[in-house]
Amino acid sequence: MADSVAVHRAVAAPARRRHIGRTLTAYAFVGPALLVLCAFILYPAFYSLALSFYEWNGFTPEWGDFVGLNNYRELVRDPVFWKVALNSILFVVVRTPIEVTIAFMLALLLNQNIPGRSFLRTMFFVPVVMSLIVVTLIFQRILEPNAGFLNTFLRNVGLGAFAHPWLADTTTALPAVIFVSIWKNIGFSLVILLAGLQGLPQEVLEAARCDGANRRQLTLQVVTPLMKPIIGIATVLSVIGGLKVFDLVYIMTRGGPTYSTEVFATMLYRHAFDLNEMGIASALAVIMVLVIMGTSQLQTFLLRER
């Protein structure tokens, strides 16, 4: 009895020491990442949450008055906030299906054994790589009312009646911005979907072909169902990207005319740095996180169900 305890101790002590040593080693590997994460993401996140309960102009050394949920209440009462929520929903609901559908069609075409397909894939991806400032300035020139490419083109082909100040009109500004964002992002969805297509199990496709499936049946009844999870991923990424959008809107329209293109991120920026309402801006940041995390959780859940 005493013997076995002694033996147990003799074996267990170095084992435990080794175990602690290994844990320390592991933390030495993940430590720097945790440090950076805490300093630049976690600490700021809690800071924003706390600041959202204060009314602060950003200039006084102290945070100003504690106002509880007043900032949130004020946002909910602000018609601009609901306009922004609607714009963000429209942005996602219009953009994502169009983007993913066109990208999937192009991916199906590019997945064939055609000459120059890697060249085509490379070229379709150029808009994704390009800086948004370049993209938005090009489209500002294209959509410019007087000598812009689009209106000049419409006048030259006799459709001058349709010429329009696209970005200056409250009814066309949001559609124009959504169009540009689709144009910018299609390559991204395309590349993901194409990689998915190339990873499909060849045996299944071969079997379907042996059973006499023609090309349309193969695409609609075999390939598309197999691709559902990948289409889901492309959809999630597009929705999250859409909810986060800032640069595109900020540079193209600054959220105008009269808030017709304002989204969460530009509203946040306006409150923080034009209106000096750090509390309201922080409340908006918290709402953004909740909306984005909630949406991605919901989508992951829906995708798992299938």
């Binding site: 199906l108 946040l268 922080s282 984005i292």
Partner: protein, 287 residues
């Protein structure tokens, strides 16, 4: 690349089928739509304002004067330099930290591992806007606004999730035997990491590096908020500041500046496109 789907073009006789031709028409129109705006920009950069306001599409005769003028007016040399060391600096730090964390999470067992990994992955979905105001306030308080650190820190943090994610996946796939052999020879974890495992992850490192570099190069919101001194600006915000001042209404000059601005990114992309596209798809598909 894996073999293509047995769809159109598989049979020799199907080349002239209507569906095959329709597919080509769709692909080529999509190509025109995605490339034409850049050609338009290039054409604008070769024109003067009079041609632009006449609605001219193709610049002729070619006017090259915009380029030297834009080069000088934008002080683009300074902007390039700022962008290079800020994007490059944060890229190097991110890769180093991600490689360490990826090894720890991919190959070692320890207490709280799953929670730490979940925490790091938060960076993939959390919007950077959550950190905007706190970082602005704290950087100002620390006197770090308008310094390279103001951007390198946040860029590193927000690139970390992607980097760690890819590195972990890569380390996990390396064979156990390598590690065991090294351990028998008396190597500790750090030596195994540095001398045996890390050199094998070169493709992953290339992918992460090029992806993060381009992402940092194009970043706008933090650069707009944390850098207000014009000599410290990076390219996107430097160009943005010029739109409303010197270049206001001078579209030929602006277009030339944008072409100059895009060149390094395009060159990098065409050299490293394989790594770049692989990085994106690996990041997206292994979720």
């Amino acid at each position: 690349m894996s073999p293509a789907l047995p769809a159109a073009g598989a049979k020799a006789g199907s080349r002239f089928e209507p569906a095959y031709l329709a597919g080509w028409v769709v692909l080529l129109s999509a190509l025109v739509v995605s490339i034409a705006p850049f050609l338009y920009l290039f054409s604008l950069s070769l024109m003067d304002n009079q041609q632009i306001f006449n609605g001219t599409l193709i610049a002729w005769p070619v006017r090259l004067a915009n380029y030297p003028e834009a080069w000088v007016a934008t002080k683009i040399g300074t902007l390039y330099w700022n962008s290079i060391y800020i994007s490059g600096g944060s890229m190097i730090v991110t890769v180093a930290i991600s490689a360490l964390a990826g090894y720890g999470l991919g190959r070692l067992e320890f207490f709280g591992k799953a929670y730490i990994y979940a925490l790091i992955l938060i960076g993939l979905t959390i919007p950077i806007q959550i950190a905007l105001i706190p970082l602005f306030v704290n950087l100002r308080w620390l006197g770090l606004m308008n310094t390279p650190l103001a951007l390198i820190g946040p860029y590193t943090a927000f690139g970390l999730a992607f980097g760690t994610y890819i590195m972990k996946a890569f380390f996990e796939e390396l064979p156990r035997e390598l590690e065991e052999a090294a351990r028998i020879d008396g190597a500790n974890d750090f030596r195994i990491f540095w001398q045996i495992m890390l050199p094998l992850t070169r493709p992953a490192i290339a992918t992460i590096s090029i992806f993060l570099f381009l992402q940092n190069w194009n970043e706008f919101l933090f650069a707009l908020t944390f850098i207000t001194d014009s000599s410290m600006r990076t390219l996107p915000t430097g160009i943005y500041a010029l739109i409303s001042s010197e270049f206001y209404g001078n579209y030929g000059l602006l277009a030339a500046a944008l072409v100059l601005f895009s060149m390094p990114v395009l060159i990098l992309y065409f050299i490293f496109q394989q790594q770049f596209i692989e990085g994106l798809t690996a990041g997206a598909l292994k979720h």
